[in-house]
């Protein structure tokens, strides 16, 4: 007879106590695994949806007066198109999705329009590759803003001529309720030709990272100062804040929920272990009278706790992953195909759940070890 068979026999004898503790751990691990898996999915979904809000960082030449920029809607100063490629080659940048633009307000068909040349997104040379953002206009084509098309009766398929260059209108943009409604988009190199500014751009739009602590823009400024010293950075604060708040809200929710679940589980395991110790007072007294050492007696309780934790982690991980994979795609349809089990969570579960159970059972185990056996044996 050793501790392990005794442990096993006791579990078989008090199935309900064991099942209740196991159930608590399974539920806790399942909730945590499901929440983390769904949070992971939520981040993907949020990132994807937030991208629809557009870019949140604007890079313009250093000598641009931003007061003039906001009043004129474009920068008069220019910088080399090569800057966007240099930025894309830089390491450790916290901006992504670089789109170079050259835009200017011009008179066309008796109206003031914003002519915007766009270079399709330049992929970053380092770091994970992401789906491109922004417009991808082939050369010789144009998109026309809603109000402009309406006033000038431009239809999709029309050919328009700007500065002597013919562009085929391939798309009329939906109403945006802003400057975009009087904009004509074309490929950057077409606009450079129209404006007579080959190799020039006057802004780079980008997506800044969502860094915790709200120091994103300062970090970007520092990075830009190294990579492109004669530029300046402006953040579209409302977009950046919406992105980061949405994303961090999910993280905060998880950060609240997971510890709450773990504490509740720990408390439940603690109460069950306490009840188990009370139920086994005579048995513990007997073992003490036989000369069984405190370590072995504590081992009976802590070993049981570790077993509950290990089994709970395995079953809970399976259950939590199943729940996340079953219900997740309905909750996050945009990124539904990206759902996958997170094997790293199994490792965490196998580490944290037994540890939690041992910690929760520690005090009851110590009570078992320190209880006065004579008290019990005399009572009986």
């Amino acid at each position: 007879m050793s501790v392990v068979p005794l442990l096993w026999r006791e579990i078989q004898h008090r199935k309900l106590n064991f099942a209740a503790a196991l159930l608590a751990v399974v539920a806790a691990v399942a909730v945590c695994v499901a929440v983390v898996t769904l949070c992971d999915a939520s981040q993907r979904e949020t990132t994807r949806l937030m991208r629809n809000l557009g870019f949140n960082v604007l890079i313009v030449p250093k000598n641009v007066n931003m007061a003039d920029f906001w009043s004129e809607d474009f920068a008069r100063e220019e910088m080399p198109e090569e800057y966007v490629h240099r930025l894309a080659q830089s390491r450790d940048m916290s901006v992504r999705h670089l789109v170079a633009r050259l835009q200017k307000k011009i008179e066309w068909r008796g109206r003031v329009v914003l002519l915007t040349g766009i270079l399709p997104e330049v992929p970053m040379a380092h770091g994970p590759q992401k789906d491109p953002m922004g417009l991808d206009l082939p050369r010789g084509t144009a998109y026309v803003g809603y109000q402009l098309a309406r006033v000038l009766r431009i239809k999709a398929g029309d050919t328009i001529e700007i500065g002597g260059k013919a562009l085929r209108v391939t798309r009329l943009l939906d109403e945006k309720g802003g400057k975009d409604d009087i904009r004509i988009y074309a490929h950057l190199h077409d606009v450079q030709e129209i404006l007579g500014k080959p190799g020039c751009i006057n802004e780079i739009e980008a997506l800044g990272c969502l860094c915790a602590g709200g120091d994103g823009i300062e970090r970007i400024r520092a990075e830009l100062a190294r990579a492109l010293p004669d530029t300046q950075v402006t953040e579209f604060e409302s977009i950046a804040r919406a992105r980061s708040e949405t994303r961090f809200m999910v993280e905060r929710y998880a950060a609240f929920l997971i510890p709450t679940v773990l504490v509740a589980c720990g408390l439940w395991v603690f109460l069950l272990a306490l009840s188990n110790v009370r139920e086994r007072r005579v048995e513990i007294g007997l073992l003490r009278s036989l000369g069984v050492r405190s370590g072995s007696i504590a081992g009976l309780f802590l070993g049981k706790a570790a077993l509950v934790g290990l089994l709970g982690a395995l079953v809970g991980y399976g259950l939590g992953t199943w729940v996340a994979l079953h219900f997740g795609p309905r909750i996050f349809p945009v990124t539904a195909k990206s759902f996958a089990p997170l094997p790293a969570l199994l490792g965490w579960a196998l580490l944290v759940a037994p540890l939690l159970c041992i910690v929760a059972s520690y005090l009851p185990a110590m009570l078992a070890v320190t209880q006065d056996p004579a008290e019990v044996l005399r009572e009986e």
């Binding site: 068979p5 026999r9 004898h13 005579v282 007294g285 000369g291 004579a374 009986e380």
Partner: protein, 221 residues
């Protein structure tokens, strides 16, 4: 073998102190069979647990096999219990989820190296050969006490301390249990039985009376 030297034990209770043992002294020689008799509440169980190293006296010394029990660490006391002392309780205190054989092997948890075969042989000797794989709940009270006795004897202790071993038994089973204790004694073991059952006197070499924590007389039966 066992010496109690001016031992007192006082339990602090909300409604006043209870003096379970009152400046009592007793010597038990190696190989002696002694009965301590007395009414309920006379301090018999306290005396037995003090000798077993499980209740620290308020005053006085308890010496077992030359070792001052309460001058050594609790781990040393546990080792002494594991190696030299076997307990038998009135309520048997069998582990409810272990079968008969496993209950007798429980001392292995304290470091004893008892083989299953030896345990089965002893149980056979105690007329429990047919009950090896029965749970305590499936045994009669007499059988349970014999299992408890086997658990106490299996590690070949030098001393058996028995607390009302016949308290829950009918006369036949009580005689049977006492005869096994006597057999252990004949083999050279020391037996200290605390009981209110006069039957024990028939087997003991010496009987002392305990009343309100004091040894009153030694009839010298």
């Amino acid at each position: 073998m066992i010496v109690l030297d001016k031992v007192s034990k006082v339990y602090r209770k909300p409604d006043g102190d209870v003096r379970a043992l009152d400046d009592m002294s007793l010597s038990v020689a190696a190989g002696e069979f002694i009965t301590v008799r007395g009414p309920s509440g006379s301090g018999k169980s306290t005396l037995l647990l003090a000798v077993g190293g499980m209740i620290r006296p308020t005053q006085g010394r308890v010496v077992v096999d030359g070792q001052d029990l309460y001058a050594v660490s609790s781990a040393q006391r546990a080792r002494l219990r594991a190696e030299k002392i076997g307990f038998v309780f009135q309520m048997f205190h069998l582990v409810p989820y272990l079968d008969t054989l496993e209950n007798v092997l429980v001392p292995n948890l304290a470091g004893a190296r008892v083989a299953s075969q030896d345990a089965a042989e002893l149980l056979g000797h105690l007329q429990l050969a047919e009950r090896l794989h029965h749970r305590p709940s499936e045994l009669s009270t007499g059988e349970r006490q014999r299992v408890a006795l086997a658990r106490a004897l299996i590690k070949r202790p030098e001393i058996v301390l028995a607390d009302e071993p016949t308290g829950n038994l009918d006369p036949d089973n009580a005689r049977q249990v006492m005869s096994y204790l006597a057999e252990f004694h004949r083999g050279g073991g020391t037996v200290l039985v605390v009981t209110h059952d006069p039957l024990a006197d028939e087997y003991a070499q010496r009987t002392v009376l305990l009343d309100r924590g004091k040894l009153r007389e030694s009839p010298g039966l």
